[in-house]
């Protein structure tokens, strides 16, 4: 024990850090902030440290070359002892890090921590969110598989829409005219050198400000932030009713960080590493690329935006979002901190959460994509064929052969791009069905040139049978009257 003390003294005489460290550790914080709500920042830092460690371990094996990256990932998964586990830790660590950064941001927003004098802490926090998302995206590219290859194509297509400089932005992003060796090399440089460097710098500034300005006090309804008096009030709060950060508050941080590490490890063991999916060979086109979890909402949004509005929303939307986040502390730098007195703040969070959650959920089911093999792999259920005429069954054959099933479902089987056709005969008359098939419209291609008249007749005869047994199909009443005044009931 005495030896340790002596060694410690030897170092402290030279480093002169002991006093600073002790003062930092024991600095007083408001009593209520020793709370489970205040653990997310330190948990995000823990995730980042895990990412640095596992990232360096992966770099021992990974080859940042377009020709070899995929093979080196296979080696990591199967050829290196516990390589799969390190990959899984890095992948799940990434998901947890993004999630915890977002939760931290929501907590900080709802507790009004961005208000005076912590405006810059919030702004650096926004930058930290952006670089964290940057790490997630570039990391997905380094897992150089089919999803990464076509994902880069999507990124390039979005970049190309920037007015004037679009094509140059694409070449700069890809490092050349196509996705190739130079592309992966520059994403490797971004993921391993540039963005981590920024992240470390931002984390340093962020932490420094938290220490210098003190942790945000627990917001009490009615305790208003005013620039003139806040610093004095905070000083009184911490010194009258404060507790030392170590050990009163820090034990919760330590416990939660440990819990998060265990959770990441459990996910890594149970679910394993992410991919890689198919080989990054652009001549293999039997693929449906999908982004990773935290970009799925964007994937869904891009399917729902109307074509004419897509480019402006895609280019201006993110800029407005980031500017709004950066401007927040300047617009609302004073006033009420408690979420109990800030209904618009709470509603904003709920709206964004429900919106992103819904889009992410939709992106997991991709109802807008045709089911590419429904026409050959999902037969028409027997009840739609039972007791039908030869013509109607021929129509069912046309329905399969012309890939209608890829976009339209019967009995919940098949695509969801277009409406389900189980009861289409109730909605459309025979004439309307013919017109819809031949001319298309409402986001359906026109099949006039692709179907012979006999095929169209058969297909529509089949579609006319798609109604519940006890309900009659739709009919044009006016037509019936015009054709035969005595017979107004349907066939």
């Amino acid at each position: 024990m005495r030896l340790i003390q002596k060694v410690g003294q030897w170092f402290d005489l030279r480093l002169q850090l002991g006093t600073t460290i002790r003062e930092t550790a024991e600095h007083p914080v408001p009593r209520e902030t020793a709370s489970w709500f205040y653990v997310f920042g330190s948990a995000a830092l823990t995730c980042f440290i895990l990412q640095v460690v596992t990232g360096i371990l992966l770099a021992l094996i990974y080859v940042p070359s377009v020709g070899e990256a995929w093979n080196s990932l296979q080696t990591l998964n199967h050829g290196v002892s516990l390589g799969w586990f390190i990959r899984a830790l890095h992948g799940w660590g990434s998901n947890f890090m993004v999630a915890i950064v977002l939760i931290h941001m929501v907590q900080v927003f709802l507790f009004g921590a961005y208000k005076f004098p912590r405006e810059l802490t919030w702004i650096v926090g926004i930058l930290l969110l952006l670089v964290t998302l940057g790490m997630a995206f570039t990391g997905q590219v380094l897992r150089f598989d089919q999803d990464a290859y076509w994902g880069l194509g999507i990124g390039a297509s979005i970049a190309s829409r920037v007015p004037v400089i679009g094509p140059w932005a694409v070449n700069l992003m890809l490092g050349g005219p196509i996705i190739a060796g130079a592309t992966l090399s520059r994403f490797f440089a971004l993921h391993v050198f540039v963005i981590p460097g920024l992240l470390i710098a931002f984390v340093g500034v962020h932490l420094l400000m938290v220490l210098k300005l003190g942790i945000n006090e627990w917001p009490m309804p009615g305790r208003i932030v005013r620039r003139a008096t806040y610093l004095q009030e905070y000083h009184e709060l911490t010194h009258r009713d404060g507790v030392p950060f170590v050990p009163n508050a820090v034990w919760k941080d330590i416990f939660f960080s440990g819990f998060i590490l265990v959770a990441i490890a459990v996910c890594a063991i149970h679910f394993g590493p992410f991919g890689p999916s198919g080989q990054p060979d652009p001549t293999i086109i039997q693929t449906a690329p999908r982004p990773d979890l935290f970009f799925l909402w964007l994937y869904a949004l891009l399917s729902f935006l109307p074509p004419s509005a897509e480019t402006p929303i895609l280019l201006i939307g993110p800029a407005i979002g980031i500017i709004a986040l950066l401007a927040l502390p300047f617009v609302a730098g004073e006033g009420e901190k408690s979420w109990r007195r800030r209904p618009i703040a709470v509603l904003t969070i709920l709206l964004v959460a429900v919106g992103l959650g819904t889009l992410t959920h939709l992106a997991e089911h991709t109802p807008w994509s045709p089911v590419m093999d429904a026409w050959s792999s999902q037969p028409i259920p027997a009840e739609f064929l039972h007791g039908r005429t030869a013509l109607e069954r021929h129509g069912a054959l046309v329905f399969q052969a012309k890939q209608c099933h890829n976009c339209h479902s019967l009995d919940d089987k098949g695509g969801q791009r277009g409406p389900a056709l189980d009861t289409v005969a109730l909605r459309l008359t025979e004439d309307q069905l013919i017109r819809q098939v031949i001319q298309g419209g409402g986001n359906m291609p026109a099949y006039g040139k692709n179907l012979t008249p006999a095929e169209t007749t058969a297909l529509v005869a089949f579609l006319e049978t798609l109604h519940p047994a006890k309900q009659k199909p739709a009919r044009n009443a006016a037509q019936a009257v015009a054709l035969d005044p005595n017979e107004v009931s349907p066939r």
């Binding site: 076509w150 194509g153 094509p167 700069l172 050349g176 449906a288 399917s303 986001n443 291609p445 099949y447």
Partner: protein, 181 residues
């Protein structure tokens, strides 16, 4: 020499030193920026568009649409498979061809050809195109990108070398026409 003079002399030396570093920094910035921008300065002018073979004419029967591949003109030894690019070749009537980029005009995913319904469909966001490449439905704003082609020595050549994207001028000039859905 008085103390005051000494300080002003040293202050001047500091300023000169900073100025000197500024000049050197600017001089170094020129080649650094030039290096960084090399994908859009040098190569862009040279080989981004070349005539490349997609195979003999016998591979493309009249009235059919077939998948073809070509080798990108600028490849390095470490580029792996990424230099092999796919495209769709449609032989319209035995003499006229249409060569479509594999990339959807929406966001670049690989479109697939369905000969039975004469449609190209995209697996990402559900874009669909007719057999002539014009837009049929879905989020794309335009038809499929088309390469210029020529027939030489029994081979079909296309002018390619750059990934077609919605904002790329070359693709816009030769691209498919817009149609009403």
């Amino acid at each position: 020499m008085s103390g005051q003079n000494g300080i002003s002399r040293r202050a001047a030396l500091v300023k000169i030193g900073i100025l000197l570093n500024g000049i050197v920094g600017t001089a170094l910035a020129v080649p650094i920026v030039r290096y960084f921008l090399s994908p859009i300065i040098r190569e862009r002018k040279m080989e981004y568009g070349s005539w490349l073979s997609v195979g003999g004419l016998e591979q493309f029967p009249a009235g059919q649409t077939r998948l073809a591949t070509y080798k990108n003109p600028v490849v390095n030894s470490w580029d792996g498979k990424t230099g092999d690019i796919a495209c769709w070749v449609r032989n319209v009537d035995g003499q006229t061809f249409q060569v479509f980029a594999i990339n959807c005009a929406h966001l670049g995913c690989p479109v697939r050809w369905f000969a039975q319904s004469n449609l190209f469909m995209c697996p990402c966001h559900g874009g669909a195109y007719y057999q002539d490449g014009s837009r049929a439905s879905g989020p794309p704003e335009r038809g499929l990108f088309q390469y210029s082609y020529k027939v030489e020595g029994g081979k079909l050549l296309i002018k390619a070398g750059e990934m077609p994207t919605p904002g790329q001028p070359v693709a816009n000039k030769t691209g498919g026409k817009m149609t009403c859905a």
